[in-house]
Amino acid sequence: MAVLSTPRSAVQLASKGQPLREHLFRIALIASLAIAFVFLLALLSYVLIEGWPRLDSRLWENMPSVRNPDIAGAQSAITGTLWVISITALLTLPTGIAAAIYLEEYADRDRWWNRVIELNIQNLAAIPSIVYGILGLGIIARTFGLGFSVITASITLGLLVLPIVIIASREAIRAVPPSIREGSLALGATQWQTISRQVLPASIPGIATGSILALSRAIGEAAPLLMLGAVSFIRFNPDGVFASYTVLPIQIFNWISQSREGFHILASAAIVILLVILLLMNSAAIWLRNRYQKRW
């Protein structure tokens, strides 16, 4: 090794040269997060301050009213949201995860039809929600005859967020190192055993993220439901999957477009409720994600 003459003498180990660049990079990263947080904070405070006067039990004990904002509540919308979102989760999470498993673990990526499925899923993610509303109205409500019911809404929302679940789950499954699969298969495990006992547990964090994002989207979505008869004025709780229903985003939308100030306050309060429901819904996924997150 002629290149090197003497080794460098024992110079200081203190950093030199790049600290500024490193520093700036770090600051830029923190700033990215901070900017997003500031925006969120601004939005939340805006909503919270606006809605504060009406954040009380009337909100979940009373039914909606168009006559008087003081007696109006959102009970039917809250129960409707819980119904719709639970069934959406039940329908879409298993389907999405199953589709992701198929595409990552079974499908031969060189076959054109699998590439078509793949492309198709990405494409579905970009279709505006209102188009799903058209689909839900024409095919699910009318052709399948499910009418303007909870189940129609859940299926429509489920299809709307399905691509999110699939894409996120696929990436999570793909990130599991191949050596883990090899280790399992070499022990005589079947493909499904390998998937269900090694690959899926290892990809739970990513799948949980996908589920969170998907359900978040579904719970806040109003546009397709407007086409699906999530009628804005309902004074009773749904009693089954075929019942009429309304949901919080619709109720919020409706209150926001009311002319009286009192309803705007109510809308903000309902947003807070919606976010609380959202966080409660997601907390299971968040818990799972934190529990299973690991590096190898």
């Binding site: 883990i180 090899e182 280790g183 022990l187």
Partner: protein
């Protein structure tokens, strides 16, 4: 102390009289266009230890991975030629690779513990194979055989990824033997082990070879000499186009390979004059 001299053929076997488990004929393995191994003929005897030696990159792992169809999993990998397992074509249409792997276990060159607890790593194989019996005993037995029990008995619930390199390797050995396969393929099973652990694993191999067939890849000449009945020596030829292809140079009883090799290249390699 185990026997560390050349083990020699198990009486009354002779080179030709072996009871074949695998019969390999004209095996070539391709990664895409690249022919990594060319025209290998080989016979693996029942309840024997067969060692595969040769310089790095000559295709030992590649051949080994054909024995339990592990290469099926590498996109673009393809085997030509025949491998018979107890007279049955391993690559035959009706053959179920899962059944193959259930009966032919494998320890990989790079330790690959599952990101689970030590206990679950061992229990995994028996569980997926629907094995009955007390799992705790099974785990203890496998870990003891792989000379790891003492070190981990207090932390069976700890994540296997926090083990040291050598511990991980022994864990993978324990995992493989816990399912009691018919054949065990081991790719450099002692590469990360100290002499003591190596000795224990070699003892284990000797013990297992009473009932099982074992194929090991090793770069440790002494190890091959100590434990194996037969040795296959591979090397990589460079062809006209400058590509390297693995080839089987010589296959014989270990005592013969190490004392009286037929091929000049074998002799050179064994005595360290090669390369």
């Amino acid at each position: 102390m185990p026997n560390v001299t050349v083990r020699g053929p198990v009486a009354p076997h002779t080179a030709e009289a072996l009871d074949p488990v695998f019969t390999v004929a004209g095996l070539s393995v391709f990664y895409g266009e690249y022919e990594a191994v060319r025209e290998v003929d080989l016979t693996i005897g029942n309840r024997e230890i067969t060692a595969m030696i040769g310089p790095s990159g000559c295709g030992k792992s590649t051949v080994l991975r054909c024995f339990n169809r592990m290469n099926d999993l590498i996109p673009g990998a393809r085997a030509a030629g025949k491998i018979m397992y107890h007279g049955e074509d391993l690559y035959g249409a009706h053959v179920d690779p899962i059944e193959v792997r259930r009966r032919i276990g494998m320890v990989f060159q790079k330790p690959n513990p599952f990101p689970k607890s030590i206990y679950d790593n061992i229990a995994y194989g028996p569980r997926v194979n629907g094995m009955k019996g007390k799992m705790d005993d099974l785990v203890e037995e496998a870990l003891t055989q792989a000379a790891l029990w003492d070190e981990v008995k207090d932390k069976l619930k700890q994540n296997a990824l926090s083990l040291s390199g050598g511990q991980q390797q022994r864990l993978c050995i324990a995992r493989a033997i816990a399912v009691k396969p018919e054949v065990i393929l081991m790719d450099e099973p002692c590469s990360a082990l100290d002499p003591i652990a190596t000795t224990k694993i070699e003892d284990l191999m000797q013990e297992l070879s009473r009932d099982y067939t074992i194929v090991i890849v090793t770069h440790n000449m002494q190890q091959a000499a100590r434990v194996s009945n037969r040795t296959a020596f591979f090397t990589a030829d460079v062809d006209e186009r400058g590509e390297r292809h693995g080839r089987l140079v010589e296959f014989d009883e270990t005592s013969r390979i190490f004392t009286n090799p037929t091929d000049k290249r074998t002799e050179d390699y064994i005595t360290g004059r090669f390369g």
